[in-house]
């Protein structure tokens, strides 16, 4: 089960839910199930970076998610 933590911006689309838990094997499955639950998340997921157990992915796609994985959505950073 992957534990997902949403950013403040995403919580508006999730109706205030900050966390959720899903049985998924990879990030693609996770995004599909999230969009099924909260369609308003689709664009926000596209715009977000994600941290999987602390490792930040600017463009996650099909990264495997081990059981007990913690997934954080966060704004993308680039820098100067």
């Amino acid at each position: 089960m992957a534990k997902v933590v949403f950013s403040n911006a995403m919580m508006i689309a999730t109706g205030g839910a900050r966390e959720a838990v899903f049985a998924v094997a990879n990030f693609r499955e996770l995004t599909q199930i999230l969009i099924e639950h909260w369609p308003g998340l689709e664009e926000l997921i596209e715009q977000s970076a994600v941290a999987v157990d602390g490792q930040i992915y600017q463009d996650a796609f099909a990264e495997p998610l081990a059981p007990e994985t913690e997934v954080f959505f966060m704004p993308r950073i680039e820098g100067g």
């Binding site: 403040n8 930040i56 992915y57 966060m74 704004p75 950073i77 680039e78 100067g80």
Partner: protein, 751 residues
């Protein structure tokens, strides 16, 4: 990952490959490119900070002999452009296009209104005078807090705050950021001291010495080449082709040598204009900004107003933190409001916090990235508040930070748990540094502050070609600003097991190598270095295959040691090792040239933390500040080229000191910049500064083959608060407004 002691190349400090050409004047920068029949382009800029354009007539310019092209906003394709520009706060491509050339409104003094291309620079300047523009002058919006008022004059009548529900009315607030955790009220109740102050930071220029410059040569088919000074030629190509409605395959972009960028050259200004005028005239067009144009019309950092409240217990524990920060975006949305929110508390484990940030339009140049965009302003405010708390608690400021320091497993304020990080190691190094153990000089104050930057990976490509004699040629696509070609050569030499002198690196143009994102975000040594390393590993695999073929062994019976193929342990083969040079000489017989490439989207960039401290003294009669000593300590993960890591740390420290002490954009009441040049915009020079002492801490990033973290951005973050804290302690009064220039300090001293 190999241990540091095993490395033969990494950690050495050879002279950078471009160094000789740069010190002898041979290096070709943007303005050094010249072509036969080349025209010179110039831009007509708005004399108003805010005005509606009623008409633009370029016919007078076009009628002049020697003028071959004249353009205005009407010449650009219509319709809304989708997508975002590269670089932090690059903004929407639609806004970037309107920044390159104004359409119905000018939004800052210096905004481009028209451009001409003529046979000489002087003729081009004369032609600008023949362009007629009618304006309806509007009142400018210049103060960020006033701009946030719902009744404020609007910079852009179509700007609505980006919220889930579209607001009923437009506003100058483009975006809002918010991060929170815990219970603020309970946190502040638990505090023994509470500090609450307002801080300001000015707009500051990145201080790159080379002005923006480019040459475009477009043929009658609309195809051609653009040479430009850029941090990212692939993204400049994308932006230029998009706003001109061209197929990007029709444009080749060549990154010239670059005389500094620091984020300011992630943005296009001239390239679309030169490309359009070259296509219209059928001749190459060169455009070079004057220093004044750089100041008036390119992107500086955001000015900010930050209100910070922090509660601390007697033992130093931060019980609660609350911040409100307004970032000036300039004329278009895209201030680094989110990085500011995400960085302000990043070094600490805080249970209760809230940070709200705002991206606010004003009639000033659109801001651009500047090293660690958003972090210096945000962390200046919080680090000053923490220093005041340490003073009130009579606590060493490093000790206070150690009490709260984030470590591996700490949940970062912006979300995830940290992997291994080096913040505590930096604090420990600072506490025992000889400079910290010295007494504070008489009359001076010692300031301590910390810095942070996320660092990023993003997309990079690299090719590695083995020459016939076994020497190595790397082609990659990251413009080299800080010595990255030397770092690429070191990582390739280390991976291949050969000498640094046998490796060369070249930054390829957009037709010579695969896509690379901008050189920014402290990503090049990390991400492009990872691509180079992977390509070298592919070369090794190929060499092992060729050696196996030569020896009649299976591939898995061959290993690679010290730059040569050898039979693996237990393999009974009476053969001599085959070096890279020997394999290259025989490549024709084993499959042809040895070459490999790698393209990746690098993940797992490791965050960088720094701790800085310095002793500063204020002359109470003149308000002048002397920096007596300054020490910068930073976790680099692994320093591939330690001298260039130190250079990044020293350069960032100097820029931060300049921002703290003297640098600021000064606008008059009409929004006209009054100090558009390095005479009146005072960056520090060598005689202003002591040697910046450095100490590199190495807590390897487990996501990189050599442990690299980015190093380029974090160095600018801490110096603002170091200087403010040192000056505040020396004067025994809190100085909250930057820069701490002599007149401002005299005002404070005289009450």
């Amino acid at each position: 990952m190999a241990e540091a002691l095993d490395y033969k190349q990494i950690g050495t400090t050879p002279v950078r490959p471009d160094g000789f050409d740069k010190v002898t004047g041979r290096a070709q920068f943007g303005a050094d490119v010249n072509l036969p029949n080349m025209l010179h382009g110039k831009v007509l800029r708005s004399p108003h900070a805010h005005a509606r354009i009623k008409s633009v007539d370029v016919s007078g310019a076009l009628a002049m002999p020697g003028v071959y092209a004249a353009i205005s906003g009407a010449d650009f394709p219509g319709g809304r452009l989708e997508g975002e520009a590269g670089g932090e706060g690059g903004g929407s491509m639609n806004d970037v296009a309107k920044n390159v050339m104004a359409r119905n409104k000018v939004l800052y003094h210096g905004h481009a209104v028209a451009a001409v291309a003529a046979s000489t620079v002087r003729l081009a300047e004369q032609a600008l005078q023949a362009i007629k523009v009618e304006y309806e002058v509007l009142e400018p919006v210049l103060d960020v807090v006033e701009a946030m008022d719902p009744q404020a004059i609007l910079v852009n009548e179509d700007n609505y705050t980006a919220l889930p529900e579209k607001p009923e009315k437009p506003s100058n607030i483009a975006n809002v950021g918010r991060l929170e955790r815990g219970n603020l009220e309970e946190g502040f109740m638990a505090a023994d001291v509470v500090i609450e102050r307002e801080f300001t930071c000015p707009m500051a220029h990145q201080g790159y010495i080379e002005p923006h410059a480019c040459v475009a040569s477009i043929d009658e088919r609309g195809r051609g080449t653009v040479w430009c000074s850029t941090q990212g030629h692939f993204e400049h190509r994308a932006a230029t082709s998009k706003m001109l409605g061209k197929n990007m395959a029709d444009l080749k972009f060549v990154a010239t040598e670059i005389g500094g960028g620091f984020g300011g050259k992630t943005v296009v200004y001239l390239e679309p204009l030169a490309t359009m005028m070259s296509e219209k005239s059928g001749r190459p067009v060169k455009m070079t900004m004057s220093r004044e144009e750089v100041f008036r019309a390119t992107g500086p950092s955001s000015a900010t107003v930050a209100r910070v409240k922090v509660g601390v217990r007697k033992d130093g524990t931060i019980t609660a933190a609350q911040s409100w920060i307004a970032f000036e975006a300039g004329a278009f949305a895209g201030a680094p409001y989110m990085p500011g929110a995400m960085s302000i508390y990043a070094p600490y484990a805080i249970e209760n916090f809230l940070v709200e940030t705002f991206d606010v339009l004003v009639n000033k140049p659109k801001v651009a990235a500047y090293r660690a965009p958003g972090a210096p302003q945000a962390m200046h405010a919080f680090e000053c508040a923490l220093d005041e708390a340490a003073q009130l608690l009579n606590m060493d400021p490093i000790d206070l930070r150690m009490v709260n320091a984030a470590d591996e497993g700490t949940q970062a304020p912006y979300g995830p748990k940290y992997p291994p990080i080096g913040f505590k190691a930096c604090l420990q190094a600072a506490k025992k540094h000889p400079n910290y153990l010295k007494p504070v000089p008489d009359g001076a104050g010692r300031g301590v502050a910390v810095g942070f930057w996320f660092n990023v990976g993003m997309q990079s490509s690299a090719e590695v070609n083995i020459n016939e004699n076994g020497s190595v040629m790397i082609i990659e696509g990251s413009p080299d600003i800080g010595g990255s070609r030397a770092s690429m050569c070191l990582m390739a030499a280390e991976t291949l097991g050969i000498e640094y002198d046998d490796v060369r690196a070249q930054v390829g143009d957009t037709e010579s190598t695969g896509f690379c994102n901008v050189t920014g975000g402290s990503r090049t040594t990390f991400a492009t270095g990872m691509a180079v390393t992977q390509a070298c590993e592919a070369v090794i695999a190929d060499c092992k295959r060729r050696a196996a073929m030569t020896w009649g062994l299976d591939e898995d019976q061959v290993e690679w040691e010290d730059g040569q193929a050898v039979p693996g342990p237990g393999v009974n083969a009476d053969v001599k090792p085959l070096s890279l040079a020997e394999l290259a000489r025989k490549a024709g017989k084993t499959g042809g040239p040895i070459t490999a490439r790698a393209s990746l989207n690098a993940q797992g960039a490791g965050a960088a933390f720094s701790v800085n401290f310095g002793d500063l003294r204020v002359d109470r009669e003149t308000g002048k500040v002397d920096v007596l000593s300054f020490t910068a300590i930073q976790d680099a993960g692994r320093a591939i080229h330690p001298a260039y890591v130190e250079g990044q740390m020293q350069g960032g420290a100097v820029q931060g000191i300049g921002w703290a002490l003297n640098e600021e954009y000064i606008f008059d009441d009409n929004g006209v910049l009054e100090n558009a040049g390095f005479l009146d915009y005072r960056i520090p020079v060598a005689s202003d500064l002591p040697m910046i002492d450095t100490e590199i801490v190495e807590v390897p990033n487990p996501s990189h083959p050599f442990g690299v973290r980015g190093v380029g951005e974090a160095p600018i973050v801490a110096p603002l608060a170091v200087c403010a804290n040192a000056v505040s302690r020396s004067l025994d009064m809190r100085i909250t407004d930057l820069p701490m220039s002599p007149p401002r300090l005299l005002d404070a001293i005289e009450g």
